[in-house]
Symmetry: C2
Subunit: 284 residues, 2 copies
């Protein structure tokens, strides 16, 4: 497994594979890899001739009061997992290279970025869209893999790739959960044992909403009450029913939707969601 620290290094490696007729899959991450990331890496390895992982805790998607400094860094374990899965190259840029002092260019995805997490974290998706663009320019992949746990991020990246003619196929993978339902997240490490139990509320609420939806419930007020009821012991940031593509609030369930939740358990902000398609009556 090769490790590159500069855009030029990984770009040369990736282009040499493209020019040899091989497809390049790419999994961008902030490290602290868990089974959710592993599912992305396995898909990238299975669906492409070579697969690249990037590890970079991107400072521009954290606000000053957020957890950039304490975000978990598990470099050795991450590399071991990547190697075991069959990742062929790791791109691990160094901070000063990626954001020089007078850095001033941003990729902004309007509308899709503005609701949900974009409201609570105003610069978050600007940071995400910008770093993903930078990583794409360095890796030049055919396909890139993202987890549906970050459903709004998936919508932002899909829109950006289309609008900017990036020519990259975005592959979304299902949410990976603990046996009690909690969606995997590097931030779950912040939870103490008592919070870890309370954190089940998010998935429990979503599962109840899923059961109501597949049983035919269509009243948004009723569905919302089901969700709020499950969240009594956590501090809600938002509970929203939105269009799965535009991330705009819906007034009726006609097209694929997203039920999205963000809540604080202690000091830890967790997100989770459910995608529901009324035409096929399936949820995931």
């Amino acid at each position: 497994m090769k490790i590159f620290h500069t855009p030029e290094g990984i770009r040369r490696w990736s282009l040499s594979h493209r020019c040899a007729g091989r497809t390049v899959g790419f999994v961008p991450t902030m490290g602290a890899l868990h089974a959710g990331h592993a599912s992305l890496m396995r898909a990238a390895v299975a669906q492409n001739d070579v697969a690249v992982l990037s590890i970079y805790v991107n400072p521009t998607q954290f606000a000053p009061h957020e957890d950039f400094d304490k975000y978990p860094r598990t470099w050795e374990a991450d590399l071991a997992l990547a190697e075991e899965i069959g990742i062929r190259a790791v791109y691990a840029p160094r901070d000063p290279d990626l954001y020089p002092k007078d850095f001033s260019t941003w990729v902004i995805v309007e509308k899709v970025s503005e609701g949900l997490c974009g409201r609570s974290r105003p610069h978050f998706f600007r940071g995400v869209a910008t770093i993903v663009t930078k990583l794409f320019h360095a890796v030049l992949p055919h396909r890139a893999y993202f987890g549906r746990k970050d459903a709004q991020q998936c919508a932002v990246i899909r829109r950006m790739v289309r609008d900017l003619d990036m020519g990259i196929e975005i592959v979304e993978m299902p949410i990976v959960r603990e046996s009690d339902g909690l969606a995997l997240s590097s931030r779950n490490q912040y939870l103490n044992p008592e919070e870890r139990i309370r954190a089940r509320a998010l998935s429990r609420g979503l599962f109840s909403v899923r059961d109501a939806l597949t049983a035919g419930e269509r009243d948004l007020t009723t569905l919302r009450e089901i969700m709020l009821d499950a969240l009594k012991d956590v501090r809600i940031d938002y509970v929203e029913f939105v269009d799965a593509e535009t991330i705009e609030p819906i007034t009726e369930i006609q097209k694929p939707i997203l039920v999205a939740v963000a809540a604080y358990v202690g000091d830890t902000r967790l997100i989770d969601n459910l995608a529901y398609d009324p035409i096929t009556n399936t949820a995931q």
Copy 2:
């Protein structure tokens, strides 16, 4: 000479040349090609194994009240000139492909975009940075060629390419002028004979400032007066002395500077500039 209308088409062509070990030069234009564009195309042909021209009048860099509709379109003559110079492929995207109805992604270059033309044309550089990014993603060139007549555009593109790790070399070519000094521009076609004569004021003023600078004049008020004096018969949008890299106003002449002017001659807005390096005492 091949003509492509889609990003996928030109990207496949360009990658096939890159993979054969050839360098790809790129000249993005809005068509209505003149001798300034010809100098960019000749440089791209001379310095690369293959050269690509794009022709696209980009709607997002025009404000509603500006000249998008009347901007000159000279498709047949443009193709003939490109072919004669040795351009190997033309990328001519079609409007609805490039900006679908719910288009919502923008590349923003802060600070460098904000002075000069960015002040008079608030969305102009957002439109430029976004379309150039889209064109770069389609063409994937090694080098791209821009004219120094659009000096602020050059600074915006240089900054964007660096910040977003685009891995493209930006080559800037000198301003091409008519024999009486007027900088070539597709918009010169709008001038009637009387305006065409008055339009000399911009270059005449810049040449006087150049002579004063190279003779050792360093007082910005004096230099500014020289410029304003030449512009008495046109309507000034701005006259500014700025840092050549950051496009920020200067208070003394220590590093390479730009003397930039924009003025209306009749209804036609013209721009011109002078780059001066105090270390070598050279101007262009």
